[in-house]
């Protein structure tokens, strides 16, 4: 599979996966925006980010990013509760949403390239931090309107020519992390 074919698969997969997961687990409508291919590896963030690694014949990372108030809304819809702050339950809910979205995408990728592994999600909550995925300079980014707020889903994936078992991830800035 070429990098271009993988990019198409990732785009289709993200759209289908987010609609499926948010429709079934959050019970709200999902509106997808335009796909953007980001050519720089640094991602400046402010809010909640959930990251999951994929490894196999291809290797990469998936990320869900949203503002704190959107994270509270998504967690509220997911757990049928109300949250006034981004607490442990909110971070856990966003982590599980990421697990389902990227897990479903991973299943679609597996059908084309063979077995892939998925890491457990890492959730980051903070202000003014930067994430960088080592060895890659291309992300597929799709914004979604979900439960009245914006959820960004980003994936970067490359052929695993060196047979690595996990992607390198650097995070710089002020943050609170939860595994």
């Amino acid at each position: 599979m070429t990098t271009e074919e993988m990019q198409e698969l990732v785009e289709t997969g993200i759209r289908s996966s987010v609609e499926n997961v948010c429709g079934m687990m959050l019970g709200c409508t999902v509106e997808a925006g335009e796909t953007r291919i980001i050519g720089h590896p640094l991602q400046e963030s402010d809010g909640v980010v959930a990251l999951i690694g994929m490894a196999g014949p291809w290797i990469g990372t998936g990320a869900l990013t949203c503002r704190p108030e959107v994270a509270r809304q998504l967690a509220g819809a997911f757990l049928m509760s109300e949250y006034e702050e981004v607490n442990d339950e909110v971070l856990d809910a966003i982590a599980e949403l990421a697990n389902m979205v990227i897990g479903n995408l991973k299943t679609m990728i597996e059908d084309k390239v063979g077995a892939m592994g998925l890491s457990t999600p890492t959730t980051i909550f903070g202000a003014s931090f930067t994430t960088k995925i080592g060895g890659s300079n291309t992300w597929t980014l799709i914004p979604f309107q979900v439960c009245g707020g914006e959820l960004l889903v980003q994936v970067c994936i490359l052929p695993n020519e060196q047979g690595r078992t996990h992607a390198r991830l650097d995070i710089v800035g002020h943050m609170v992390t939860k595994n």
Binding site: M25, A95, E96, T107, E110, T120
Partner: protein, 123 residues
């Protein structure tokens, strides 16, 4: 007779959702126990009379496949129905769980009705 149910998932969010779904079923529920991985699950099984296990596959420390293996290898637990509820969609994992004696399999994301349908006839 009330049934004690063990929910095994490293996500507290999923454990909370499954508790809510179980409460919507007509299953006469006793205690709902929770565990964050396979090792904790074995501790709950040793200390309680569990009648049904709902387990994730991908978990830290001990995954759902190893947990299922240990449940089936224990004379006291081998007849407990174990339903796997997971994002793991690979055919290999499904076949492995079925070969080991999983009573059913539900893929995340799921609806409450899918879980309820899977539990009908098991308990």
């Amino acid at each position: 007779m009330a049934l004690d149910v063990l929910i095994v998932d490293d996500s507290a969010a999923i454990r909370k959702i499954l508790q809510r779904v179980l409460a919507q079923t007509e299953i006469p529920l006793g205690t709902i126990l929770e565990a964050g991985d396979g090792i904790e699950a074995l501790e709950r099984l040793k200390a309680n009379h569990v009648g049904l296990v709902l387990s994730d596959i991908n978990m830290p420390n001990m995954d759902g496949i190893e947990l299922l293996t240990q449940i089936r290898a224990n004379a006291a637990w081998k007849s407990i129905p174990v339903v796997m509820i997971t994002t793991e969609g690979s055919q290999q994992k499904v076949l492995e769980a079925v070969d080991l004696g999983a009573a059913g399999y539900v893929r995340k994301p799921f609806t409450a009705d899918q879980i309820k349908e899977k539990l009908v006839g098991l308990v």
